[in-house]
Amino acid sequence: MRITGVKTTLFRTTSEQRDRNAQGSAGTSPSHGCVIELGTDEGFVGVAICSVAVPAQLKQITDELLTGEDPRCVTGLWQRMVNASYRGGPRGFVKAAIAALDVALWDLKAKANQEPLWKTLGGARPKVNAYASGLDIQATDAALHDAMSAMAKKFGFRGGKLKVGLDPDADLRRLGIIRQALLANTAEPELMIDAGQYDSPKQAIRRVREIEKHVDLTWVEEPARRWDFLGLKRVSNSIRSAVCAGESLDAPGDFLPHFQCHALDVVQVDAASVGITGALQIADTAFGFELPVTLSRSPGNMHAHLGAVMPYCMSMAVVDPVLLGGVFTGDVRIEGGWAVAGDRPGNGLVIDQQALAKASGTDAAAGRVA
């Protein structure tokens, strides 16, 4: 099987929930993105959804490094893409493009085997501990309550994560709202907060200690800058809860100082940053260091497939238990608080071409690359 080329389609959909954290309370939309369709000479199409629009990088990398190659050789191709970016490193747009292409390549490998991705990776059917995430920092208390209660009731979540950082009193009050909603499913809800790299380490320590007087936290996410392993370590040494970070790092090697200095208590990986290939490398490293791994949010909750082969997979973030926007569908169900992947071949992402055509209108279509 040979790769013949890539088709990228920018799209924009309006969504009820917007991804807003302490860094940008005005928010960015998670549903502004790019559909990637990697074509082959055997008719299989590899699909990935990229949350940033990088059509130029996707086309260049595909033309120069992937076209004519066998997509089943995906780990070698990931290395080839990373090596080609050696000088500047796999950062920024290049990172996003490599990661998305790696997801599409794995999709092809699984489709060639006519099996779901979790099986191609070698996993038993995944049952990944899911938690509710991605709640709008600006949602009103009532809206937060309604949304969380609905999520808890319908999908059985036992854990929830709040974006915090701008108003300590509100953060504490809203953690209480989440906890209350989750009590429907468990006597001990797992509560997490995400500071989004907004605080200095000492600010984070003060903030978390205050919260910990009232609430037991499972982890604090990104309580210092992503590269500041000394700051992350310092926070970990000064609070009870675990420090979690990693989704914003660019490559497995960037985790070296974090592992070496024991700066992380929970290692977070995201295929949108490091591809599936890089995510599995980091998960194996974490296993060697006896550290649990958590998976970030993912389009169609596709990360559930990866959890199947991570020996120390702790949990994964779920923003949309059912998909908003309608440009694509996935094959991961959330039931009883667990993410369970189905049997659809590949990663389960299927593009609704009609909806995509509608969502890629006007200015979005200007960036379209055929």
């Binding site: 089943r72 070698g76 059917r125 985790f255 194996d284 490293t285 296993f287 020996p311």
Partner: protein, 391 residues
């Protein structure tokens, strides 16, 4: 597809020549062999070479009836299964053998060589020659490395540790033999845990006055991360180690304490899955890994797909009596074919004959440690090795 059963065959083989090191300078030529077959309801059988002893029966309960394509999930299940006593010893050998046979199955089901199943772009692995040669005469030593050099192999690893002057002489012989492949052959030495850390530093520094060494292997005990780090800090060569540990869990203290520069990995590192875990952990730290020697070089299938593999050990003492395979060494690389799985088939008639009439030879397994280790060096006695003549 379901796993339905297994069969384990043990046998003895006599190698074409003896192999030896600092602990067994006189060498052995009788080697234990084992083949594990894992059967499925689709009439496809997975094969694993070596190590599949009695504990397979215990662990098989964990995988019976499962889909072999879920091999990583089954690895996790087996690793949890042996939790209390640990993934060590016999359990580790069985877990490793099962995992290897399952990966063989996974690739065969996909109808492709394992290197492709694992995602590699090519079935090609750089080789280095390793004579396991303490028991070889100087002439035999030259002949082995020259034969390898004529296949394009430009790197060699000498067994050392008991006699500095002899080791220096034989390093020069190895380099000369390899010089037809490269003007600057890569030289390695291996003392198989015979020295204490400071003995190692003294010995290696004297060698380094005359030779540029790429790595020194097992210059201290396998678990002694302080000692290994001490050696690494005091010699120019990289410290290679890990061949005698079992899993990524054992690699943790070595990597975290900066005790290792090159990780030796093998089928016994908890199978293909375990090998990949170790390589991935090493890769995060920017460390290379090197695959150990094995029958028919079958683990080259795995090495080809590791992101940080440097070169694989090739001994070629003649251990493939009952095996059919298509890999070959060409231009210094192990070149793998397109046969599905590991690309190994068993000649059942030869296997049965070996079991019926076991060969006679010199064997001492499990391989023992030599007197004096880590305290004082006991040089080969006259006549113990061909290069130290009897009285």
């Amino acid at each position: 597809m379901k796993i339905t059963g297994y069969r384990s065959e043990l046998y003895l083989m006599k190698a074409n020549r003896a192999v030896g090191d600092a602990n067994l300078p006189d060498g052995v030529d009788l080697l234990p062999g084992s083949i594990l077959y894992i059967e499925t309801d689709a009439n496809i059988t997975g094969i694993s070479l070596g190590f599949g002893g009695g504990s397979v029966k215990t662990l098989f309960q964990a995988i019976e009836g499962a889909d072999p394509r879920e091999v990583v999930g089954l690895w996790i299940k087996m690793n949890d299964w042996v939790h209390k006593a640990g993934n060590e010893g016999e359990a580790n050998a069985a877990l490793s053998a099962i995992d290897i046979a399952l990966w063989d199955l996974k690739a065969k089901i996909a109808g492709e060589p394992l290197w492709k199943t694992l995602g590699a772009r090519a079935g090609r692995v750089k080789a280095y020659a390793s004579g396991l040669d303490y028991c070889l005469s100087d002439e035999e030593l030259f002949a082995f490395y020259r034969r390898m050099a004529e296949l394009g192999v430009d790197s060699g690893k000498l067994k050392v540790g008991l006699d500095l002057q002899a080791d220096l002489r034989r390093l020069a012989i190895m380099r000369e033999a390899l010089s037809v492949a490269s003007a600057r052959p890569q030289l390695m030495i291996d003392s198989n845990e015979y020295w204490s850390p400071k003995q190692a530093v003294r010995y290696i520094r004297q060698i380094e006055e005359k030779f540029d060494l790429v790595w020194v292997e097992e210059p201290a005990r396998r678990w002694d991360y302080d000692g290994l780090r001490l050696v690494s800090q005091q010699v120019a060569a990289a410290v290679a180690t890990a061949e005698n540990i079992n899993s990524v869990a054992d690699v943790y203290p070595l990597i975290a304490n900066q005790a290792v520069d090159v990780l030796n990995v093998s089928a016994l590192h908890s199978g293909v899955t375990g090998c990949r875990q170790i390589a991935n952990m090493a890769n995060t730290y920017g460390l290379p890994v090197s695959m150990m020697n094995c029958q028919a070089n079958f683990m080259a299938q795995v090495a080809a797909a590791l992101p940080n593999h440097n070169m694989m050990e090739v001994v070629d003492p003649g251990r493939e009596h009952c095996l059919k395979f298509s890999s070959r060494i060409e231009d210094g690389y192990i070149v793998l074919g397109d046969a599905p799985g590991f690309g190994i088939e068993v000649d059942e008639a030869i296997l049965a004959a070996l079991q019926k009439n076991p060969p006679v030879g010199k064997g001492r397994f499990p391989f023992p440690r030599r007197d004096g280790a880590a305290r004082y060096i006991v040089p080969p006695a006259p006549g113990e090795v061909p290069w130290r003549r009897g009285p």
